[in-house]
């Protein structure tokens, strides 16, 4: 038995292309896997840190930045209002337009469109699309702020004055995002349904009384929708804060962190949506 030959090192072949051997590729995959594992642990630590910070702030005599949570509620909630109204209003209109078009072509009966649409919005689309939009706007904002503070060494200054950056910066954002995602999901769902009803009435002549039929909405749909909104509201600031805290270098690092926050936040929303929907479906025995 001879020892396997050493993996050839990457080099430039005659055509100028990078030649990589099998060993090299395995190394690269392993490195990527290790990085992902390390990132997952860090993400988990940020989450635990935020929860611990919340607990610490509830203690009597804990130092708290006055008004920080209120300021974040305003920055995350009120300033996203127009964005959420515009985007969800338009998508509600499009969905009903497409749905009515398809129903009138295949079944010819538009009385079920509103009923099914409202169920879909309450249990899924309202919270999920609001979550996606907030992952874009709020997640990018949090990562940009915290990332800028990281690269300008303001976080080190905080630590030096005995303040934990997670407690001081991330906990108010976490609380505010959690509350505001739920509030804006409810608002976004309502806007979607209203815009859809308007489109159905104006373009297809569906009676609003037929459209706004809550018959298909069960309490379990409402619970599932609110649960989804809570999960997105918790996931978005944690992912964004994690990305911001990992920023290195200068302006380039902040840009990378912001990008990672948008992708990570959007992906977290979609993956959580899938997991919660499938979980609810199998929990309820196929009667979602």
């Amino acid at each position: 038995m001879t020892a396997p030959p050493p993996a050839p090192a990457a080099g430039r072949g005659p055509a100028g292309r990078v030649v990589t051997g099998l060993g090299d590729r395995v190394t690269r995959i392993g490195a990527a896997g290790l990085d992902a594992g390390r990132a997952a642990i860090e993400l988990w630590l940020v989450f635990v840190g935020v929860i611990a910070g919340l607990v610490r702030q509830r203690r009597a005599g804990a130092r708290r930045a006055p008004g920080a949570t209120v300021a974040q509620l305003h920055a995350i909630g009120n300033r996203s209002l127009l964005f959420i109204v515009v985007t969800l209003g338009f998508i509600g209109m499009v969905m009903i337009y497409q749905g009515c078009l398809q129903f009138s072509r295949s079944i010819g009966d538009l009385s079920q469109v509103g009923k099914q649409f409202i169920r879909l919005v309450v249990s899924d689309l309202g919270p999920t699309l609001t979550g996606l939009m907030l992952a874009t706007r709020v997640g990018a904002g949090i990562a940009a702020e915290i990332g800028s503070m990281k690269v300008t060494e303001q976080l080190d200054a905080l630590r030096m004055s005995g303040v934990l950056p997670i407690d001081y910066l991330l906990v108010p954002r976490f609380v505010a995002a959690l509350i505001m995602t739920v509030v804006l999901s409810v608002l976004g769902g309502a806007i979607m349904i209203a815009a859809g009803g308007l489109t159905a009435n104006l373009s297809f002549g569906v009676n609003p009384r037929t459209f706004f039929d809550l018959g298909a909405v069960m309490p379990r749909h409402l619970v599932l929708g609110l649960l989804k909104a809570c999960c997105y509201g918790a996931a978005i600031p944690v992912v964004a804060g994690f990305c911001g805290l990992r920023a290195r270098g200068s302006s380039e690092g902040v840009g990378w962190a912001t990008t990672a926050a948008v992708v990570g936040g959007s992906f977290a929303v979609i993956a959580l949506d899938f997991a919660l929907s499938v979980g609810a479906l199998s929990l309820l025995g196929g009667k979602l």
Binding site: S106, T258, K287
Partner: protein, 257 residues
Amino acid sequence: MFARSVSALGARALTVARELGGIVILTGQVLRALFPPRLDGHELVYNLHRMGNRSVPIVALTAFFAGGLMVVQSAPMVKNLGATSLAGWAAGYAVLRELGPILIALMFSGRVGANNTAELGTMTVTEQLDGLRALAIDPIQYLIVPRVLAMLIMLVCLTVIGDLVALLGAGLVAKAVLGIEWQVMYASFVDNLTPADFLHGVYKSIGFGAAIALSSCYFGVTVRGGAVGVGRAVNAAVVAAAVSIMLLDFFLTYVSA
């Protein structure tokens, strides 16, 4: 108090007008560089690979979840009516026409558009664009046009790939969660979906690609103020891209229907 809120509203409107105008001017400059084509071919190929090939995993994963989700959501209708042949219709129609292109465009805007803004923004704040101009290299031809073209082409390609993955995801989730056989799902797709449904989504993705590309480049080259400015620009770019995707979706659907 009232006067202050009015002036805040006016300032906001002016900002939006300035940004829109800037994007229109940038569009004009890009078009002028395209006829006759004066762009850096090497940069184009590099950007096509970087923006397209390397986004395939995240787009495929997103599309897979989108397809699965729509099947899960159409489950009650299917169970109530006992019509498993409708599962493919509802999921396929929603995914091909609406959710697939929109979700893929949003992920693309996050991964590629935001990244592009960050990169161009870093180059702007470190005065590399001025450096290019000093070397008599037009930043529009060298940096902007290849990126805009690459994003346009690659979002269309990724939407095609994503649509197929989404249908695969729909079939897989239908089998695993609802117990619908592959053949039933396949027949349901073939019977109920037309090429027009597929093309409708692909056609909208051209508009989404243009919106993402132009807004991300515009916010990248207009960055002011160091690292803080780059973060703010990326934020503004993804918000602008998300709003324009939703607005374009509405208008493109109306125009084509």
